[in-house]
Symmetry: C2
Subunit: 499 residues, 2 copies
Amino acid sequence: MRTAVAAGVDVCFANPGTTELDLVRAIDAVGGIRPVLGLFEGVCSGAADGYARMAGRPAMALLHLGPGVANAGANLHNARKAGTPMLVVVGDHATSHRGLGAPLESDVETIARGLSDSVRTSASAAGVGADAAAALAAGGVSTLIVPADCAWGEAPGDAPGPPPPAAPRAPADDAAVAAAERALADPGGAVLLLGGEALGERGVRAAGRIAAATGCTVLSETFPARLERGGGLPAPARLPYFPEQATAAIACHAALVLAGARTPVAFFKYPEVPSEIAPPGTPVLTLPAPVEALEALATRLGAPDAGAAPAPPAPPAPGPLTPASLVAALAWRQPEGAIVVDEGLTVSELYVAASGGAPRHTYLALTGGAIGQGPPTAVGAAVACPERPVLLLQADGSAMYTLQALWTMAHERLDVTTVVCANRAYRILEAELQRAGVTEAPAAARAFTRLDDPAPDWVALSSGMGVPAVRVTTAEDLGGELDRALAEPGPHLVEAVLA
Amino acid sequence: MRTAVAAGVDVCFANPGTTELDLVRAIDAVGGIRPVLGLFEGVCSGAADGYARMAGRPAMALLHLGPGVANAGANLHNARKAGTPMLVVVGDHATSHRGLGAPLESDVETIARGLSDSVRTSASAAGVGADAAAALAAGGVSTLIVPADCAWGEAPGDAPGPPPPAAPRAPADDAAVAAAERALADPGGAVLLLGGEALGERGVRAAGRIAAATGCTVLSETFPARLERGGGLPAPARLPYFPEQATAAIACHAALVLAGARTPVAFFKYPEVPSEIAPPGTPVLTLPAPVEALEALATRLGAPDAGAAPAPPAPPAPGPLTPASLVAALAWRQPEGAIVVDEGLTVSELYVAASGGAPRHTYLALTGGAIGQGPPTAVGAAVACPERPVLLLQADGSAMYTLQALWTMAHERLDVTTVVCANRAYRILEAELQRAGVTEAPAAARAFTRLDDPAPDWVALSSGMGVPAVRVTTAEDLGGELDRALAEPGPHLVEAVLA
């Protein structure tokens, strides 16, 4: 714990059990780490992800043996896809207790290996500090398994040294910048695809200037870990979700320039549809050190000081809520400085399109496709930034995966306003069935895609977790309730029932 | 799907995604498999466990890629510890789509290997049938990963043959029975520890007769997968949870005879407390073919026709609910033929002691210590046995892990009566802290063990899932509400707030 504190870890999201109690006592003994309880481990891992995306430093997620790692797993997966650093600490049985078949014995290492970027297991109490330092230095989702005897044993009392300084940022690669300049000058036009750190304020500004100078198309990756938007920042369009549309967005351009983004691939493979999004033969260029490269490129191009700013959001069409009016109401009312956590799934694309001209905000997407990321990530973002309002745009089927996060919002009095988009279906699966030519879903397909018998009552569920909630069915009422929720500190939930 | 149906699989608990849609369409095309939706994969795996414990044959759990396996993982763990057979089918990306870094790409095999008894991955559509047959033949929690192209491709049309007949049951081992007879005749007395299949009606009856003939102490393992009880059946006492008490229950006996039970070990290791429960030097005998062996032993001993029947349950002490009056109310009111699913944790031992003389019932425990097993297992048991009432004795902190199961109870109109024991704490951790000498828990320890700020409102949570619910605070009201809930078909929940 002293090693973690020295490395800047100041919060621990946990649902510990007996094998972690000595680690919990160490948190008390060492001090400097804020304990935040999640009522399910998926809340803890998702919150640690949201925390690190906003704070820029890892949180600790403290988990209970193999089942705890499994419970945390979906959001560990999302965190890995976001490139989030996280120190995952897992208690295990005492070394001498392994192999005896105790009920909670499991292959913790294998489970953790499938869900982490790296895994270490401490062999002695004396080694735990060095193991923690190595886990933190490894970066990514880094798991340290601490057997109970290593937790209750005595460790040497030396204070850990400060962690090694971060490596200096690499400069732009001149050759790559020059090649990108040539590609952007091609009369066939180019797509500049932003991802990762290029979606911060510097990258987005530079890309907007480049677009103003060259007329290139700027897109953002579909599911960014963190994107700075609004308040007059240029707003790159989102690379579409379905592969045909994504390919169409890149086709008819002479080149694809990647700035912080990976080579785009389809979310899912479909028969007869290629995995690769870029049309065959499209030249693909990659900009190392993408933020520095974009700024160098803008300078070389003699680009104007600022790119085009998107228009402010339009008010929503009044009347019964549609996906379009729901996201319009949100974009129209969202306050300055909001952190928008988006697990809206089938409404996400509409929200992104509607909100580029909203007040300045930070946007956090579902990065790994494992649903149940939104509520925990909102918890973590709110813990990291108590002075900023958090808006959670949340699909109902996905909200059900980690609704326990609402309790932590209530317990910690977090300023999170959750909008549950209640279409009472796994709409994305209905869309997929339609893609596959199934117009009238047969029994099993219907059984597995409908959530309306009974429709979950999100007002009751939220109230049961201690978060005040209301239900709305019109855009006007959604706007009014958003205003009320945003004006009042602490968590709120609005169930927005789609017509 | 045809292979699964031919092998007797008739229900699929699932929360499928895009990569499973062709498998869902196959369920529709083949017929014979009932689709049951869980709103979180941990519900699906726990329900498949409960189903198989009651039906005696495996259900299918259909899961979505690596995150789906992780979400199902805690109850896969519990199912493995219960020895439950389960066919876990996991969709994965199409073979050609792997390795490209799609958002949902993960190491499904490694995750599944950490959480299953065996794992297979299909290489072609033509092989899926044989792979499913092999997975079913392997027994235990058996996972078959089906890449999307193997699901959407054409498979040969031959109907699968019937699965090979089950191996005949082994007869009793005469030498082991004779050795056990000598041990039981020792004037120092012996403990007969029942587990596994020896906790069925035949084993329990034979053990009761043996106790009547020899005066030996009969115990059941602490967390049985399935135990037949009540209605005049002999009721073995439960091996205590904490190692000191468990060791005391075996000490002062000349031998320990294991019938279907594993060598007992401590649930958790503590400093200075041995992992092994039996005192050093205690002779330990194992009875192969335990049911047949117990019956042979009773015959050799010339045991009476029936062992001692426990006394009927006593009515609960009136007034504010205590753990003792809560379980007494339950034991006193439970109806003939109930299936009692017990994830009561700190009240479980009291319930087992109070209910041995209740009407005939089947008892299903939390086998692997991974909390969140109760509500899903109750779902599966109710699907398997629609004619039997299911009573779920459920700790509140654990209920929170898989509360989504309530929705499936409502959706499927299952006759499950849930009693949430609301102590609003992780009481077991408070007990562990006290064991460790912590009388006044410091900040982090308190933060991670208290659920009372806010107290989850189980009436609201249950209603939000579509299950009617009431709150009671006295034993009288609990009894009355249990009667009402049991008299009415469909699911109910009673939040029993402990004083």
